[in-house]
Amino acid sequence: MTPFARSASELSTAIQSGKVRAVEAVEESLARIARSNEAINAFTRVFADQALADARRIDEDVNAGRVLGPLAGVPFAVKDLFDVKDQITTAGSKILAAAPPARTDAVAVARLRAAGAILVGTLNMDEFAYGFVTQNRHFGTTFNPHDTTRFSGGSSGGSAASVAAGMVPLTLGSDTNGSVRVPASLCGVFGLRPTHDAVPVTGTFPFIDRLDTVGPFARTVSDLRTAFAVLSGTPLAAPSRPVWRAARLGGWYRDGADPDGLAGVDAAATALGAEEIVNLPLAALGRSAGFLITAFEGGRRHLANLRARPMDFDPATRDRLIAGALLPDALLRDAERAAALCIAQLEAALDRHDLLLAPATPSPAPRLSDGMLQMNGKAVPARANLGLYAQPVSLAGVPVLTVPLARPGKLPFGLQLIAARGREALLFDAADALVAAGAAGFSWPPLAEVSA
């Protein structure tokens, strides 16, 4: 078995038992990046020399019989908004290209390294994380490994695509309005938006403070469990099979969704005993409130550079940020009141149900050529609509795990598993149950060329 047919957890176990050397794992990762990145464009920088040096140290520790962390020897990569010591954090923008290098790692990066993981590079994103498509004027488009004529999703597109293509078994992304969940859905990997504040965002380039989260992508639930424990500094949640009260979200969360994708959601719901459909009539209001809050606060965050160097922005980002900067303060107060209503409704539903299920995106990955997706028989812009089902949930700060539904021979389509704040362990258990039932799981894209 090559190192990358193994999950991160399996790989670390093999390295710590001496069956695989960390150097082999990193070399395999670097070789896969070299083979696939031209087609996918997930990586923006590769730290080959440093990663190999780190791997040699791990191998020395193994040989010396030292106790290592749960991710010892596992190659990982991060969205290019995480500080990496001595590297410039670009946040996907030319604006920051001449910024001073980071003095220290972001907390999330430091925690993964302390657990033995080896950083191999940085990953592409929408500029300043404002988008769902990972089409970036400065760093190019990240293509979907399952079909390179299609979107990878965003804004953490490089993070999802690199895991799907087998370049690394573990990555970090960020999710403000859906930027982990959308690319996880389109690329067919597991992705976690943790409870707001569960994982420190210290050392990441911010977008919207009240909504920003950082979370991991992986090919297995087990890897997300391990990564979340490391990232949050909490004990590893052992798998269990609790009794849960689960329901599907209806209304806004089904209207216009791809019928075949919805069939997968319903099969997953059956596997979890989620026959009831719950309507949250204020979801549309929450979407609008989140859209406005994001534009307003994003515009103000970038106002100085929008004044001084507007032509250095990606035009798609710039025009949205300027529009946001022009909004009056009164609008924010109205949007916040609307958001509070939406949050209260979702929290009430989570008082009655442990788990809520919803599609992560309206459709599988749309084609890049026309940039449109189908909703209710109409073509609508993908850029503006990929986050429809992710954005309203973001306001409440609750954890959401995106699970790739089992769709043999079809493009990936993700399911959102939603729980109350602090209940990540329940999400992992539910995802395990879906995999065990055959309703979900990662599938290699043809491009990955994995040999077992």
Partner: protein
Amino acid sequence: MTDSNSPSGTGNADGLDVGAALSRADGLGLVLSGEIRPGVEANLALLAQHYQAVLMGLSESGERGP
């Protein structure tokens, strides 16, 4: 439109006046060149739709008068 569209404004039950919002650019030191302005206008129009939806939602919920 009666929307003040000023930083200290009290908002407007009719929604967002795109023209008034654009007029704030000078005061904020933003230059809307010919290349930039159409994209900003389009995004403001989208934001105006969302603001209208928010105002309607607040009105329906009794949070704000029409």
